[in-house]
């Protein structure tokens, strides 16, 4: 099916044909024809953000919570450069988004025209792929290919740069066809390797599943298969920050998150296991601690759709390249056909060991006095919201780690956080994107006051579209994680890690027409949280918390999984000179 239309109309038609219902964007000179085409239709809703970075994070939140690709539309020059942080964030967390940028007309490219930037050059290293489209006839093909590339294989951000004359000119529009692109990543794992993994599982005495964002990205069916596999083998399971929710936090075999601020039992199990089954995780440095002492006595299997993830950081014994869903399906088949065997006696002993580690209760804290502990605030938030249809986003820092530790995720796509890039300012716009995808659900952004201020302008967006996102700010008047590292590593010299002149968040909310709630007394907390939940509209919740609380457990830089710090008493001289150069 082909039709004649302008380039701008093609953009809108392609988005409709690809099933897009929401676009996050900000207009400008070089995208005016596309905005004009958007104005003249009713299929796609455009959400006007207040800064292009917000548009990209909102699209990320939308994508992660719905499983569909997120779409952004921004102008040339500064519009495009403002999108770079979001693109890099989506690249590191493997989030499928399509960013459309306007560009100066083709005949002006290279002349340093007004609002001209080399957008494809700037974004080449922070996209999975990008295109500069110089002919209107080529535009529809590139638009459809962009969706294919963003969502196939390891998902990621793509960018299409569209010069203004290409938007104005007429050309031939082609409807989406089944992709004939040469880019068709392998999704089926090698069955010999799958069988080898099953053999290892049958013999393992101390097995452990270590799962990551790849399970979420593989879709809900993959999470379902994972749950089935865990319950039928009775192996323990831990997950990265990115993978929370693939296996339910209330599940019997759940050890909690692993890594730098992961749970004691999860990290000890990683260190002590004899078979590590990595499913869709990538041995990130927040996970491994010091490489030379990482899980020294285990056979390591690694299931990943991206061949470059395998052996990049940690040498593995059983590599399986493929989509997690496909590989788990084959794995279940092979394991069942061989008689569903495990070394259950040994696994039982392994569980006894794990139960001893769990008895340490590494997340234990005591709320006393009149100052709210951040852990207490999140425990109460969890208690009062866990039965809601709930989505959580976060900013980056201590509050993010506490949220991962104290909130429970029962399903995939419910937890949106900037894992790889660690982007402060991610959570608020992401919560807007999530709420757009789930208008009836409860969407909470767990934030620190410093992170939240980085994209606070989006309160205008939340108000304009009546998005009742709840901003739960743990306000310690500090850059908490920076402060913690300065305490542990830099002789308690708190260089630029506190905020003076913080705004009155209640008044700030009111200035935008939103509701502000201040809470500083632990006795008032439950009531204040209920007030937040009962308000139909955006809420800024300013929760004043203990200013010098540190986040534990913690694997210090340069240390191994079994050298965790469990509390303040452990911190003296915990990080040596070699560890202090690491981030």
């Amino acid at each position: 099916m082909t039709r004649q239309m302008t380039g701008a109309e093609m953009v809108v038609q392609a988005l409709i044909d690809q099933g897009v219902d929401t676009v996050f964007g900000y207009p400008g000179g070089a995208v005016l024809p596309i905005y004009d085409a958007i104005f003249q239709q009713n299929h796609i809703k455009h959400v006007l953000v207040r800064h292009e970075q917000g548009a990209v994070h909102a699209a990320e939140g939308y994508a992660r919570s719905t499983g569909k690709p997120g779409v952004c539309l921004v102008t040339s020059g500064p519009g495009a450069t403002n999108a770079v942080t979001g693109l890099t964030d989506a690249l590191l967390d493997s989030i499928p988004i399509i960013v459309l940028t306007g560009q100066v007309p083709t005949f002006m490219i290279g002349s340093d025209a007004f609002q001209e930037a080399d957008t494809v050059g700037i974004t080449r290293p922070c996209t999975k792929h990008n295109w500069l489209v110089k002919e209107t006839d080529a535009l529809s093909g590139v638009l459809h290919e962009a969706f294919h590339v963003a969502t196939s294989g390891r998902p990621g951000p793509v960018l299409i740069d569209i010069p203004k004359d290409v938007q104005f000119a007429s050309g031939t529009y082609n409807a989406p066809q089944p992709s004939t692109s040469h880019y068709q990543p392998t999704v089926k794992g090698d069955i010999t390797s799958v069988t080898e993994l099953v053999e290892a599982m049958e013999k393992a005495e101390r097995p452990l599943f270590y799962t990551g964002g790849g399970v979420i990205n593989a879709g809900p069916a993959a999470s379902q298969l994972l749950r089935e596999l865990v319950s039928s083998t009775n192996f323990p399971i831990t997950s990265t920050l990115m993978g929370l929710g693939a296996y339910p936090a209330s599940g019997d075999n759940w050890l909690g998150m692993l890594g730098m601020h992961g749970l004691y039992e999860a990290n000890m199990a990683m260190h002590g296991c004899d078979l590590m089954i990595n499913i869709g995780a990538r041995f990130d440095d927040r996970i491994t601690g010091v490489i030379s002492e990482f899980s020294p006595n285990s056979t390591k299997a690694h299931i990943d759709i991206d061949p470059s993830s395998i052996n990049k950081v940690i040498r593995v014994d059983i590599p399986i390249v493929g989509d997690v869903g496909h590989v788990l399906e084959d794995l279940m088949k092979v394991w069942k056909s061989r008689g569903r065997k495990t070394n259950s006696a040994a696994v039982g002993n392994w569980w006894s060991q794990i139960k001893e580690w769990q008895a340490i209760e590494c997340l234990k804290f005591t709320q006393q006095g009149k100052v709210i502990k951040p852990q207490y605030a999140l425990s109460r938030l969890e208690a009062l919201t866990k039965n809601h249809d709930r989505y959580i986003t976060t900013e980056v820092g201590q509050h993010q780690m506490w949220a991962a530790q104290y909130l429970g995720f029962e399903d995939p796509n419910r937890w949106m956080t900037s894992g790889g890039l660690g982007t402060m300012g991610y959570g608020f716009p992401a919560s807007i994107g999530v709420q757009m995808g789930h208008p009836e659900s409860l969407v909470i952004n767990v934030a620190g006051e410093a992170s939240w201020l980085m994209n606070m302008q989006e309160l205008g967006t939340a108000m304009q579209y009546n998005l009742p996102v709840k901003q739960f700010i743990l306000n310690n008047e500090r850059l908490g994680m920076v402060r913690q590292w300065q305490e542990l590593l830099h002789g308690e010299r708190y260089s630029s890690s506190w905020s003076e002149s913080l705004p009155d968040f209640v008044k700030l909310a009111e200035a935008f027409g939103a509701k502000g709630i201040l809470c500083s007394d632990p006795d008032d907390l439950d009531e204040a949280i209920m007030e937040m939940l009962n308000h139909d509209g955006p809420v800024l919740f300013d929760c004043l918390v203990e200013k010098h609380e540190n986040c534990f457990p913690m694997i210090p830089s340069g240390k191994a999984h079994n050298e965790m710090l469990l509390g303040d008493a452990d911190t003296q001289g915990a990080i040596d000179a070699k560890g202090s150069v690491l981030v």
């Binding site: 494809v120 999975k128 590339v149 040469h182 392998t186 089926k188 991206d306 470059s308 395998i310």
Partner: protein, 186 residues
């Protein structure tokens, strides 16, 4: 231990054998990368090497299939086996890369490079330069009373050897194309 079944760059001795024998010894590998001949593709490849800190000893690129719009990039790189495997996997990730072949491990291959040498001098040195050029089957492509320009084709080692010999005889300037390589046999 089986090789993995992968689409991109798959060959019998796969460039994607993901169970390599890791060692700390730095090896020199010649990679042939088939890419879509579209704007920016070379920047993607070079950007990958720069961004991830890999070495490029030489790199040549030209279109080899006009109808299929394919170019062949020949890269000579160095690294430990783990780094070489990463380089190949990272190249394979680029959307416009069609195939990655590691000619160093995929069997015997031929490597050729073209170089042009300007040698200036007179008297006995000039005669000696011409005599050595003849031995190396280098052609004289320009000549004045005080200089020669030699064109020489061969493996990089042969060109290195010729350069060593020309240096004391008045070598002024060298231009080299970098390596083009193909696997041997059918």
């Amino acid at each position: 231990m089986s090789d993995l079944n992968l689409k991109k760059g798959t060959s019998a001795k796969s460039a994607y054998n993901l169970r390599p024998n890791f060692s700390d010894i730095v090896e020199r590998h010649t990679l042939a990368v088939m890419v879509e001949n579209e704007p920016g593709v070379l920047a993607r490849v070079i950007g990958l090497f720069a961004g991830r800190g890999y070495n490029i000893e030489s790199l040549t690129v030209a279109e080899v299939d006009h109808e299929g719009k394919l170019s062949r990039i020949t890269i000579v790189t160095t690294g430990t086996p783990q780094v070489i495997e990463q380089i190949k996997a990272q190249l394979g990730r680029i959307v416009t890369v069609h195939e990655v072949h590691d000619l160093t491990v995929e069997g015997p291959s031929v490597e050729r490079e073209l170089a042009i040498f300007k040698v200036a001098g007179d008297g006995e040195k000039r005669v000696e330069a011409l005599r050595l050029a003849d031995i190396f089957r280098a052609n004289v492509v320009d000549s004045t009373l005080k200089s020669f320009v030699f064109e020489i084709t061969g493996a990089p080692e042969k060109i290195d050897a010729f350069a060593d010999l020309m240096r004391p005889l008045g070598l002024v300037e060298v231009a080299r194309t970098g390596v083009a390589a193909l696997s041997r046999g059918g």
